[in-house]
Symmetry: C2
Subunit: 249 residues, 2 copies
C-alpha cells in the first residue's frame, strides 16, 4: 500500500486531530488571520498529505466549535468575534416574548485588583496576582438590565486602557482578539438567584432585595486556558436567560 496506515502517524495521534491542531497553529502564528480565508480543501489535502475526507473531518469539527466558518462556493474563513453570529453565542439574555436585541454597554468602572482565591482558581493564576477589573452596565430598550463585573489576568491583557473600553466599537471579545490576540472559544456558565444589594440596586434602578439572576462565566481560549471570569447580575422582570439561542441546522 502506498498511503500511510489508517491510524499510525509520526506523532501517534489521530490524523484528523493532527490536522486540526496544525490549522489552529497556522492561525496562531498569523499565517491565516481572523476574518480571512484559509486555503481550499484540495490545497489543505496537498499541504498536509491527507485525503479530502480527513481534511473535511478536521474542518467540520473546527467549524462546529466556531473556530472556522464555511461558506459554500466562497471558502472557509477564520471566525471573528465581531461577526453578528457571535454576539448571541455569548449573550443569552432576551426579552420574555423572545425578542432579541443588542445591548447598549456603558463602562462603570475600570481598575486593577489582586486576585482573590476563588478568582485565582478559576483563572488558573497565582493567588494575589494582579487582575484587571471592569464593570459594565448593559441596557436593553433604554433600561438598565444587567451589570457585568469582568476579571482578567493582567499578564494576558498588558496595556489595556480605559480608553480602549470606552471607544470599543464592537464586542469585548472582539477587542480581546484584535488587540491582545486572545480568542475566546468556549464559555462555561453557572447560574444562581440572589438579592440585589445597595450598589446593584442603585446602578440597575431597582429596589434592594430585587431578585437577580447571577451568571458566573469562565471564558476559555485554546487548550482550555481560562482567560476571563465574569459575574453578571440580570434583572429578569422583563428579560430572561435563554439556553441555546442558536438556531438549529
Amino acid at each position: 500500500m502506498v498511503g500511510r496506515s489508517a491510524v499510525a502517524n509520526p506523532s501517534g495521534a489521530l490524523l484528523y486531530k493532527e490536522v486540526k491542531r496544525k490549522i489552529i497553529d497556522a492561525v496562531h502564528q498569523g499565517e491565516w488571520k481572523p476574518g480571512g480565508a484559509i486555503p481550499s480543501e484540495t490545497k489543505l489535502c496537498e499541504r498536509y498529505g491527507v485525503s479530502m475526507g480527513t481534511v473535511r473531518k478536521a474542518v467540520d469539527e473546527l467549524s462546529g466549535e466556531g473556530f472556522l466558518i464555511r461558506q459554500q462556493g466562497r471558502g472557509t474563513f477564520v471566525s471573528t468575534h465581531s461577526q453578528d453570529r457571535y454576539l448571541f453565542a455569548f449573550f443569552h439574555v432576551i426579552r420574555q416574548d423572545g425578542h432579541k436585541e443588542y445591548p447598549l454597554v456603558e463602562l462603570v468602572e475600570f481598575g486593577k485588583a489582586k486576585a482573590e482565591p476563588c478568582m485565582a482558581t478559576a483563572l488558573d493564576i497565582k493567588p494575589k496576582s494582579r487582575v484587571l477589573r471592569i464593570v459594565n452596565k448593559l441596557s436593553l430598550s433604554g433600561a438598565p438590565v444587567m451589570l457585568d463585573e469582568i476579571l482578567l489576568p493582567e499578564n494576558l491583557f498588558l496595556g489595556m486602557t480605559e480608553k480602549m473600553l470606552r471607544e470599543r466599537p464592537s464586542t469585548l471579545y472582539h477587542l480581546y482578539q484584535e488587540q491582545f490576540g486572545v480568542t475566546v472559544i468556549r464559555p462555561h456558565e453557572k447560574l444562581r438567584a440572589v438579592l440585589a444589594d445597595e450598589v446593584q440596586a442603585r446602578l440597575l434602578g431597582v429596589s434592594i432585595g430585587e431578585p437577580l439572576l447571577l451568571i458566573i462565566r469562565t471564558a476559555y481560549s485554546f487548550r482550555d486556558q481560562p482567560v476571563e471570569l465574569r459575574r453578571s447580575y440580570v434583572v429578569t422582570r422583563n428579560y430572561e436567560y435563554c439556553t441555546d439561542p442558536m438556531v438549529a441546522t
Copy 2:
C-alpha cells in the same frame, strides 16, 4: 455511472437525512427498541442502498443528538432515558463545589387542570384543553432544593396514574418513553430569578422572599413537537445551575 447521483433521490432530500429519517421511523415503529442494538453499519448500507460514508454521517448525527449511542466493538444502540448519561443531560443543578448528585424525587401533587393560554401556546395545544399537572419536590444530600411543576398534554399521556409516578424506578423521561412512547430529545430552557412565595417557602424549607432560580423548560420530541412544560424553582444557596455539564470529547 452505476450509482445514484450525489444529491438527487426519490424524495428530493439529502441522502443522509433520508437515512436518518428512516432510522428514526424504524425505531418509532418498534422494529428496533430503546436499549436494543440497531443493525451494523454494513447491514444498514445494504438495507438503504447507500455507501458506508452516508450511513456514518446519518448515524453520527443521530448519536450527536443523543438518539443513538455508539460503542466501538459492540454496536450502535437506541438510547434510553434510563441511562446515566441522560440524567445530567436534563438535570443541570449541581453543588457549588462542582459535585454531582442524583436527586431524591418526592411526589407532592398529581391532578388534572385546564391549560392556561401560556401553557397552551408552549405545548401547542388548544386553549383550555386538559393537561396533567405534577408537582415534585427534589432533594439533594437530604435537603429539599428544587420544586418541579410539570404540565403534560393529556392526550399524549392517557392513563397516567399517581401510582406510576410513585413507583417510578427511574427518571420521568424514562417513564414517558416506556409507558407512553414519548421520547424527549431536546429541552429548551429559560431562566429567571424570582422570590419564594408562601407555598414554595414551606415546601422548600426557606423563608418567604428567598431568591429562587426559576427554570422554564419546554421539552421537545421528534419533529419539534412540544411534549412537556416544566417550571422548576431552585434554592441556589448551596447549589447552582450549570450550563453544559457534558464532558468534552
